[in-house]
């Protein structure tokens, strides 16, 4: 149990991590609201409960570093620096979205911020991330690539082939598994005999580490080390972040048929945002008014994004064949 701030993490960084997690949470809750009222098309998979992973990992990345994400990727995009306005407009299928409305939630790309895409195919982006790391190595670009994926991806062939090649070629990539215990409705222990993702690193002779994925300090510390290792020629690392999505698989899935209410309540109680706030107040590192200010800032930030997206024009149908 951690009672004090980690030595590496000062108050300013702690507050930044808090702000980032709160933005991710409130953005998703707003998307849920907009989606439920029918104003947002498509399908959305919300990141509520897992905020500490994206915030803690991306805090150590530079703008030119790359992130490859998943179908549950709004949080990764925001944490990597994609402006909320552009992301919200993309989810709404608007011309001002980061892909001009061509991608939507599961195909959102913003390479100018090093965000190489959410992805609708589970495991589909893992080889792409390793390949971009190969390019970084060949071009000596100094970039590190982070590949986010869930527990649902680790039993797919793309996981194995990518980790194997990344290991043998010593590529600058961090494999960040968000183990939220369920692939849609499939419990991880029912899908595989070896439920330790981190232990699979041994199969590729690379470092693997299990991390408490709702403790943002733990996430930050482990990711920073892995990113540093990748950047200095130490090759790939497999990190397994134990986390939980407190909502359903996608918006519309109640998520109650395959999980008990007790289990969900237990994980909700371990909310990464609330626990950081309590910890910082408890240790005297910050006070209530600071957190109130962050909440106000976040409300304004989110209102701005929603207004921008709402008032943005839809794409011109005549442009449908552009970039084909």
């Amino acid at each position: 149990m951690q009672t004090a701030l980690s030595e590496e993490i000062d108050v300013e960084l702690s507050l930044d991590l808090y702000r980032c997690m709160l933005q991710l949470r409130d953005f998703e809750l707003k998307v849920q609201e907009l989606y439920r009222t029918g104003s947002m098309p498509g399908f959305v998979h919300l990141y509520v409960g897992e905020e500490a992973v994206a915030a803690g990992v991306c805090a150590s990345l530079k703008r030119e570093d790359l992130v490859y994400s998943t179908h549950r990727g709004h949080g990764h995009a925001l944490a990597k620096g994609v402006p909320a306005r552009e992301l919200m407009a993309e989810l709404w299928g608007k011309r001002t979205g980061c892909c001009g409305g061509r991608g939507g939630s599961m195909h959102t790309f913003a390479p100018e911020y090093g965000f190489m895409g959410t992805n609708g195919i589970v495991g589909g982006s893992i080889p792409l991330a390793a390949g971009s790391a190969l390019a970084a190595q060949l071009r000596n670009s100094g970039q590190v690539v982070v590949s986010f994926f869930g527990d649902g991806a680790v039993n797919a062939g793309s996981f194995h082939e990518s980790l194997n090649l990344a290991a043998v070629w010593n590529l600058p990539v961090v494999f960040a598994c968000e183990n939220n215990l369920y692939a849609t409705e499939m419990a991880f222990y029912r899908a595989t005999k070896n439920t330790s993702v981190a232990s699979r690193a041994a199969a590729y002779a690379i470092p693997g580490q299990e991390v408490d994925g709702v403790d943002v300090y733990e996430v930050y510390g482990a990711a920073k080390k892995a990113i540093q290792r990748a950047r200095t020629g130490g090759g790939p690392t497999l990190l397994e972040f134990k986390t939980y999505r407190t909502l359903g698989h996608h918006e519309g899935d109640p998520g109650t048929e395959y999980r008990t209410r007790e289990e969900v309540a237990q994980w909700k109680a371990r909310c990464p945002i609330k626990s950081l706030r309590e910890r910082m107040i408890g240790s005297g590192q910050a006070n209530e008014s600071q957190f109130e200010q962050i909440q106000k800032d976040t409300d304004a930030w989110l209102d701005d994004a929603v207004q921008f997206a709402k008032s943005s024009p839809t794409p011109d149908p005549q442009t449908v064949l552009e970039h084909s």
Binding site: L128, G131, A135, L138, S158, E161, N164, H323, S324
Partner: protein, 329 residues
């Protein structure tokens, strides 16, 4: 110096294209099985490893999905990448990466992400390798938005199209034919490109248009020679790329000849032959003097026994007799 042009093989022409382009563009990386010291199962990378080394020629184990995905990812981050499936048959292990990732990302990113990847593989039947090493499913890729598909039939085109492929900003399927690697043809030394979407008229004629790609061009040309002896002048069109497809050259030819036959090593159902016939039926219907014909492989997997496979595949004899029937009834 003689005026006679230099002759090299189809395989050598591909190697020459790679050598020139890899020398010109240091961002090119080549990924595949046996493409390093071995020089490729079809000798399609012979000598390149010595010149460019382990860094740029990435030999892998057997993992087509990984190889292909990594090549696409490398192309998304500043490299030009070639992934060699060697046998096109093996690309099936990697299809999700080709169709779901490579083909979509440039468009979905609103053109922000370039994906300059060349996905290479050799199709078709050669020396009775059997069903799992003999597929000709090049048309699947032309069916997919976001992919260009080159299908070279000569050493000249192999070099010129591969060089063009390596200068695109979006994915190219470069589909050779296993049975053509040792075929020889004139290839000028040094720099030249063959543009995409520009068909070649392999032989001029006024009585019937025969459209074919890959190894079937050779077969169609042999059939045309035999038909010439019977007084039938066949025009042979080789589209060279099926995506983009040079519709104008095909339509112009049929406008002249009034008859169309398509020779395809793939089966007829939902394939390239049907596409060409649909094109002509839609945009050149008034030119047609007879129903178009397709001379394609029969609708079964390639059988092993030469006696059966020969029956299953298009042949010069079959093309000659089908075309003769079209003209003589």
């Amino acid at each position: 110096m003689t005026n006679k042009q230099r002759e090299i093989t189809y395989g050598e022409a591909g190697v020459e294209a790679l050598r020139e382009e890899m020398g010109r563009d240091p961002s090119i990386v080549y990924i595949g099985q046996g493409i390093g010291p071995r020089g490729g199962n079809f000798r399609q990378t012979r000598g390149l490893w010595k010149e460019f080394g382990d860094g740029r020629l990435r030999d892998t184990g057997i993992c087509e999905l990984g190889e292909t995905g990594l090549a696409i990812g490398a192309a998304m981050n500043g490299c030009r990448a070639i992934v060699d499936e060697v046998f096109l048959d093996f690309i099936l292990e990697a299809m999700t990466q080709v169709i779901q990732q490579a083909a979509t990302i440039h468009y979905l990113s609103n053109g922000k992400i370039k994906v300059p990847v060349v996905i290479r593989g050799a199709m078709g039947s050669v020396r009775n390798a059997g069903a799992q090493h003999a597929h000709s499913f090049y048309a699947w890729f032309a069916h997919t938005p976001g992919l260009k598909v080159a299908v070279p039939s000569t050493p000249y085109d192999c070099k010129g199209l591969l060089k063009t492929a390596l200068r695109q900003d979006t994915p190219v399927m470069f589909i050779e034919h296993k049975g053509l690697y040792n075929s020889k043809g004139e290839v000028p030394e040094g720099e030249f490109l063959v543009p995409f979407g520009k068909a070649s008229v392999r032989r001029e004629g006024s009585d019937v248009t025969i459209v074919a790609v890959g190894r079937m061009v050779q077969l169609a040309s042999e059939a045309a020679s035999a038909l010439q002896d019977e007084g039938i002048a066949a025009e042979v069109i080789d589209p060279r790329t099926v995506a983009p497809l040079d519709r104008d050259t095909i339509l112009r030819s049929v406008a002249k000849t009034g008859r169309l036959a398509v020779v395809d090593e793939a089966p007829a159902a939902c394939g390239f032959s049907g596409e060409v016939i649909a094109l002509v039926s839609t945009h050149g219907f008034d030119s047609l003097d007879a129903p178009p014909r397709r001379i394609c492989s029969l609708h079964v997997p390639n059988p092993f026994s030469p006696a059966l496979e020969n029956e299953m595949m298009p042949s010069v004899t079959k093309v000659v007799s089908e075309v003769r029937e079209m003209l003589r009834g």
